[in-house]
């Protein structure tokens, strides 16, 4: 294994190439000054080797197939990275005056407009830093919409039981209550349960509903128009979790289905890299009635263009009754840049193709694994689908074992044990950027593992066999709780 950077530290060494001080020295404030900071003492080559060696221990889209359901691990175009590093964007201070940041504001404004068009909304804010923040923005907007109308008793949000955990957690953060809805045996929201929850006096407490489309099962809810209607009739607003937007571009516009608010994941649908867990961007789009509540500031035209060849003057604007800021400055601008480049390269027709091929790839894998694995909802899927990772004639093998064994085939496991309503769930999302040969390789590996489950379950239980580490003792990690290289910090001191 690669040692910790603290373990290769040698007192007195430094990689810092800094200039000498070219101004007279000021007096340091004696009592304010600390002892040295226990950072490692290493050379630049040591640093580079260390992190290159660490990088080799990762799986990544650039290395191989990554069908992690609900995460849309598509190819992240290299041009995006170059654009984000253009000096005029990378070295632009966030508090630059309006006149000095017209290029950045034009980019943000254009991206807002494009995102609104893609999903049929009236306006978009790029503030939220991630999907979870987009959800918080959406639920806070719904809350404020009701309060603004003097409707103070709407405190409950409907959430299907297939929802991602962020949905209920968001509702709690916003100071509201969750009502969980069951799913029917086709994976749709149980309409009878929804009607009951929205009926009469109960309906007057419904602030809205959060729903993922297509659902976390990868299925487009056949009752979607009825769901929207039932909730709207009860006076609630509809929130769409846009995590699965990769299945919808050019197929349907959530705004046209009647949704009031939705978050986009620019790091899923619009190819900004996942970065080992972030940064992302969870932009939110809204229907007309929620525009004034959007989180801000947002980019806006403050002076229309004088003539046809002129550009308008852009500025930053706080919506009239905004729920407020979600972070400092104007959102994760670096992600806006990448998403802009991505949409520009594809154009409208190209984005339609993205969705068409994402859905084609998922259905292709599904068709080839049908019969080999149990597929609980046997219908066309969207951009992803769920299968059950266990076999009646190999009862000791679980989704986890299949996941770990896939690693030996050089493939990142699908999302496992989610959604919670399918036992031993494996959620598979191939994305549109994978070619047929890669999909066939995955299908073969899944078939071989199904065979191994019967023939050599013990070997499967011990997987992975070819990675730098075997399965980890996660209980020990939580019990003994070693969260930093404490003894080494002391050594360096």
């Amino acid at each position: 294994m690669e040692p910790l950077i603290y373990e290769i530290s040698v007192p007195g060494r430094t990689a810092a190439l800094l200039p000498d001080c070219d101004v007279p020295l000021a007096d340091l404030p004696g009592g304010y000054v600390r002892d040295e900071v226990a950072l490692p003492e290493v050379s630049e080559l040591q640093v580079v080797r260390h992190f290159v060696n660490l990088s080799h221990l990762n799986h990544a889209i650039d290395k191989g197939f990554y069908p992690l359901g609900s995460c849309t691990m598509k190819y992240n175009p290299k041009i995006n990275e170059d654009m984000a590093r253009l000096p005029g964007l990378a070295h632009l201070h966030p508090l630059t005056d309006e006149e000095g940041s017209q290029g950045a504001l034009a980019l943000m404004f254009q991206l807002q407009e494009w995102l609104a068009e893609i999903s049929g909304f009236a306006a978009v804010s790029l503030q939220p830093a991630a999907g979870a923040q987009g959800e918080l923005a959406g639920i806070l907007m719904i809350r404020k919409y009701h309060l603004d109308r003097g409707d103070t008793q709407r405190t409950k949000i409907l959430v299907p039981n297939s929802a991602h955990g962020t949905n209920p957690a968001t509702v709690t953060m916003a100071g509201m209550e969750v009502i969980e809805l069951p799913s029917d045996d086709e994976g749709n929201v149980d309409l009878a349960a929804l009607r009951a929850a929205c009926d009469g006096e109960q309906g007057r407490h419904i602030a809205g509903m959060m729903i993922t489309v297509p659902s976390t099962l990868g299925l487009f809810d056949r009752g979607i128009l009825q769901i929207v209607e039932i909730v709207h009739n009860a006076g609630g607003l509809m929130y769409m979790d846009g995590a699965n937007m990769n299945a919808l571009m050019g197929v349907v516009k959530p705004g046209e289905l009647g949704f009031d608010v939705m978050h986009y994941n620019l790091h899923k649908t619009f190819s900004t890299p996942h970065g080992g867990g972030g940064p992302g961007c969870g932009a939110v789009g809204v229907a007309e009635r929620l525009i004034k509540f959007l989180p801000g500031p947002i980019a806006a035209v403050v002076e229309p263009a004088a003539g046809e060849d002129d550009a308008p003057l852009y500025g930053l604007m706080m919506p009239e009754k905004s729920i407020g800021r979600l972070k400092a400055f104007h959102g994760n601008f670096g992600m806006h840049i990448r998403a802009y480049a991505y949409i520009r390269i594809y154009g409208g027709e190209g984005l339609k193709d993205v969705t068409r091929h994402a859905v084609l790839n998922a259905n292709y894998i599904r068709s080839q694994l049908k019969g080999v694995y149990h597929i609980p909802y046997d219908r066309f899927c969207g951009h992803e689908f769920v299968l059950e990772g266990h076999f009646e004639d190999a009862p000791d093998i679980h989704a986890l074992d299949i996941s770990k064994r896939l690693m030996d085939y050089g493939i990142h496991p699908p999302t496992n044990y989610f959604p919670l309503i399918v036992p031993e769930a494996l959620l598979i999302e191939p994305t549109e950027t994978e070619d047929k040969a890669t999909l066939d390789g995955f299908i073969d590996a899944m078939k071989k593992i199904a065979q191994e489950a019967r023939e050599d379950p013990h070997m499967l239980k011990g997987a992975p066999h070819t990675l730098p580490v075997s399965r980890l003792d996660e209980v020990r990690a939580a019990k003994e709780l070693v969260l930093c290289c404490a003894p080494l910090l002391k050594m360096v001191e």
């Binding site: 992690l68 964007l89 632009l92 966030p94 000095g100 400092a328 580490v469 996660e474 930093c484």
Partner: protein
Amino acid sequence: MSYIPHTEVERQQMLAAIGVTTIEDLFDAVPASHRFPALNLPEAMSEMEVAAEMQALAESNEHAGDFALFRGAGAYHHFVPSAVNHILLRGEFYTAYTPYQPEMSQGTLQSIFEYQSMMVALTGLDAANASHYDGATSLAEAVTVALEVARMKRKKVILSHAIHPQYRAVARTYNQGRDVKFVGDSGRADIADLMDMIDEQTAMVAIQYPNFFGQVESPETIRQLADRIHQVGGLLVMVVNPLALGLLKSPGELGADIAVGEGQPLGIPLSYGGPYLGFFATRSEYVRKIAGRIVGETVDQDGRRAYVMTLRPREQDIRREKASSNICTNQGLMALAACVHMSLLGKQGIRKVAELNYHKAHYAAAQIDALPGFTVNQDKVFFNEFVVRCSKPVSAINQALIEQGMIGGYDLGADYPHLKDHMLVCVTEMNRRAEIDALAEALGKAGN
């Protein structure tokens, strides 16, 4: 131009395998009335056309590559060694996701563990998480922890007015649906005034260090504040500039329970405000209450040391509506940037950069204070920012500076009405002496 690899032959093979004739057949569950709308977007462009368009947008901005920058106010222009960017551009790091599968993610996990360790070293506290979205949301998450520590029985949160105005705004956004009362920042309360506000209902008090005006409170003052809040069982939260901690006493030494802040000064470009890095460090006793990813050390089945996300049952995907935060990602790549940057600076480098900032800011302050029409507030110790009182509107002065190729200080009047005609000037190691002299000269002309 497309990143979709399918050939027509392959498409047909796949459709046949599925048992449909066209891709459109796969969308039968979408209501026909709403299916396949037109997308009114511009047409596709080639890579070189996109690059040219975006370069033109970029070059129309007034940025620190072309202008001498003297503005901070929460976002700082610092030197970033080339090696940082080269590591960030490794696809193995930037095209990976959250390390749910530790066997395939030891690179990400170990680097986060090292990042956590460095943040512990910097803050003098016991543990740090894998990061939040930015400094502002880290403060909002600290409020949640303080409320949880008080078991939601205390409703009062005291914020100093000298905390970044946008951070305070975000803390309020996060808490608008909860029963929380924010006090302390409506006027000009100093630390002594904040101390008087502390009572049994107080969950926490937060100050910024150095504060938004660049000033550093004395260690004695902060320790007194810590003692006072601890007497009533509340928490001291410090919003800190991590680079200043290369020089100044750590929050841990001063009695803080939680240190949060913006990690952008640690190797992350300005990028018009994001993505940045919210760091969060605390004492051992509160670790199980904090939100966000945390990486811990363990062993594999064969006894080898390895790293894994730990304390997972706190998180939203397991606790659902009972989780205290909905956060499910961190700023992974930004934490990596900070980790590589701090490794390159090392023990000596971080001190040296901090001192360069200190000396250059003090040199600039002296030059500006000597000018007629300008007064530098030097009541307190400052780090790399200071407040200048001008005899003209800041906007007029900044306009004159732009014409000289310089971006002047931040106009404080918008956020603090009593500071009309005051600018917050920032000087870092990036500002050479000649630039500082040119700034003083240009201010001298602009101020008259």
